[in-house]
Amino acid sequence: MKLENFPQLASVQQIEQGFESLGYICSPKIATAVFLAFQLRKPILVEGPPGVGKTELAKTTALLLETPLIRLQCYEGLDEAKALYEWKYGKQLLYTQVLKEKLGDLLHGAKDLAESVERLHQFGDIFYSEDFLEPRPLLKAMQQERGAILLIDEVDKSDYEFESLLLEILSDYQVSIPEIGTVKARTSPMVFLTSNNTRDISDALKRRCLHLYIPFPTVELEERIVRSRVPDVDEHLRHQLVEFVHSLRQLDLRKAPAISETIDWARSLLLLHADHLDEELVRSTLNVLLKFEDDIEAAGGELRKLLRPAAGD
């Protein structure tokens, strides 16, 4: 029933170290959430601004545990035929055609209609059995022998009705299929739900999950992240660029630069062989960090002021 015992998840510290060895630097809070989710068999609802590593967390956990990652990307109009299961209609149709003759043999010698039907009843619902079931991500996650990481990405994009569909899966790790009955998970998967907060998630769903909010990291944490992702950037520049990104986040922007943008920027600075930040360089590479014309303009005006604390070390 339970995910087998993974020594990688034995304590909060071990999780933190395991993640770090895979290049995912996290705060103790995130590690605690993973630890609790594993111990209590509860899904985690991860919220936070885009680009702080919500999806990455699930991927890294899958890597750490060496289990398959099954991902369900949510969108408006997602329904159970795409998320849960569907019948293989083609196969059903083909089989009925092929088995037609067999059927004739079987019914051969039956006295009347009642007897034929009686004989047919002995075979049960052959065409509505697991062999004809096309599992979609949610069901697939239930069927994994060794357990799996199930990532339900951007659950806030899905419709309200879809959330209700998730409730049964998240609290009991089982799926009800009308024709077959209840399918219980062989090994309950570890579930991550992510949300960008475009709408409020229903209370019923929240109640079943651990709630993890990942904010933008602190300067110190972000420097560690950049160091692990872009190890070639020298220490001085790394400090400068992280400081600069942090001061950018203080501005009133439409979309503040996230960790992934910081990493991209560090990579581009590396390509440009920069060893310190100056106004010209920042201005020409600002489009890596900011994705809106308004934002670039707003930040461009403040550039000198923003650079002063970052440079004055």
Binding site: T32, W87, Y89, D200
Partner: protein, 473 residues
């Protein structure tokens, strides 16, 4: 400790965090898994199960710190100054505190001398309470205070005026009267031990007073907040003191969110009449191509569009601030709201709302569009700006007192809006009796509105907007 956790959850509830029984059980599981050894670990773990939004988490952290760090102020410091010995201990919370070593009772010399000849005083010194005080044993003292608080029902405290009363009762429950008695006795005897005894009495009083104060903040703080919110939402908007403005802001925002989430979900409807051929065929395959079930095309309903027009002239200045606040919040949570403001002329302010934080935006709107009212020309401006966009999905809300300084009301423009729009709603801050008096054109404008209402406190505003969203569905 389990009951401690339940009490803590009670505290969270008074602070407006909704915790269900299931979540309480989860929290218990969390404490069992994580243990009490690491405070910040426990805090993070509990936060994940109990606080489900970033806002709740902020409140949670505040409550956690207040609740679990009820360490007593270290009163060994004062003693050390007196006898010249150094006693140093870090302040720590009761549950996590290892407790001081059981050193032999350091009864100060004058007290010991006085007690030698007085069996009553001797007995008092050996009582647990006095021992705890003498040995600076904060754990025992905290426990004793906790028990006393339980007996006097300190958790029921609601108003700050009750603080004195509860302190007194707590002291009685702890047995402070014996110490008081002893002080009186010593005073009569003019004993040198008097000062020491008085000092211990004061320490005890101070500790209890602190304890009551903390409990008050924990239990009554949240309740008072609810009380306050309730009052504010019933007060006429122009009477709300300036100092409460930021509170109202929060309240309005909460309200707008609530309304938006209540109505945002019912936008999709089935439209019978158009067959979804593909889906019906596909669903028919298992039945050998016989289409048992018909599937109809789902039609995504046009999301309602709201045009809100707000009067910001001098006569409604006190209301305008709130109405703008409401518009601002509404635009934050509903996707298709366009806002306009006017006094003598009218302009669209949607962009201002998008680009600026709320205070700045309201200030800018007032500065740009404030002045004397002219409904006629404002309606003209409005028609020029937005009349083409008004269709059967549009709701037009007008916020204003309809006092036109005896100018031309240009009723025909409102009428043409009335004919095109799904709904025209006029919210007037004046009471219904004043409509039509003096230069008020309200009665005339009323003829070209689907719905008019008096609206001068937040409760009314909420009810009207709720109704409005229901009908725009």
């Amino acid at each position: 400790m389990q009951s401690n956790l339940v009490n803590f959850i009670q505290v969270l509830r008074t602070h407006d965090i909704r915790v269900s029984p299931a979540e309480t059980l989860d929290a218990m599981d969390v404490t069992r898994t994580l243990g009490y050894a690491d405070r910040s670990l426990l805090r993070d773990g509990l936060a994940m199960t109990l606080a489900k939004t970033p806002e709740e988490e902020a409140v949670f952290l505040q409550c956690f710190d207040r609740y679990f760090s009820q360490s007593l102020a270290d009163f060994a410091g004062g003693e050390a100054a007196g006898d010249g010995t150094v006693a140093d201990e870090d302040a720590a919370s009761p549950g996590l505190d290892a407790g001081p070593e059981g050193a032999p009772s350091p009864v100060p010399a004058p007290l010991a001398e006085a007690a030698a000849g007085d069996p009553q005083l001797q007995a008092l010194l050996e009582a647990p309470l006095m021992q705890a005080l003498l040995q600076n044993d904060r754990n025992t003292l905290t426990l004793a205070m906790g028990r006393a608080a339980e007996r006097v029902g300190l958790r029921q405290i609601q108003m700050f005026t009750q603080k004195g009363q509860f302190t007194r009762r707590m002291l009685d429950e702890l047995g402070e009267e014996h110490i008081r008695q002893a002080v009186i006795e010593l005073e009569k005897q003019e004993s040198p031990a008097l000062v020491e005894m008085q000092r211990y009495r004061d320490i005890l009083r101070e500790q209890v007073r602190d304890y009551v104060e903390r409990e008050y903040l924990l239990h009554a703080g949240g309740r008072n907040q609810q009380f306050m919110d309730d009052i504010l939402s019933r007060t006429r908007l122009n009477n709300i003191e300036h100092m409460y403005l930021h509170k109202v802001h929060e309240l309005v925002r909460k309200m707008a969110r609530k309304l938006a989430s209540r109505h945002a979900r019912r936008r999709r409807t089935f439209k019978r009449g158009q067959l979804d051929m593909g889906r019906t065929l596909r669903r028919g395959i298992p039945h050998d191509g016989v289409m048992f079930t018909a599937y109809w095309k789902k039609v995504r309903r046009e999301k309602p569009q709201i045009l809100a027009v707000c009067d910001v002239s001098g006569s409604v200045a006190a209301y305008a601030k709130f109405l703008l606040l409401f518009l601002y919040s509404l635009q934050d949570v509903l996707p298709r709201v366009r806002s306009f403001a006017f006094s003598s002329h009218l302009g669209e302010v949607s962009d201002l709302f998008v680009q600026h934080p709320v205070e700045k935006a309201i200030e800018l709107v007032n500065w740009k569009y404030g002045g004397a009212t002219d409904y006629g020309s404002s309606l003209l401006d409005f028609a020029a700006l937005a009349l083409d966009d008004i269709n059967s999905n549009t709701t037009v809300i007008i916020l204003g007192d309809a006092r036109n300084n005896n100018g031309d009301p240009k009723l025909e423009i409102l009428r043409s809006i009335y004919q095109r729009a799904r709904q025209v709603i006029w919210l007037n801050p004046e009471s219904r009796r004043a409509w039509g008096t003096g230069d008020s054109e309200m009665l005339r404008y009323q003829s070209a509105c689907h719905f008019t209402a008096e609206c001068n406190n937040l409760k009314q505003l909420e009810r009207i907007v709720d109704q409005l969203l229901k009908s725009t569905r």
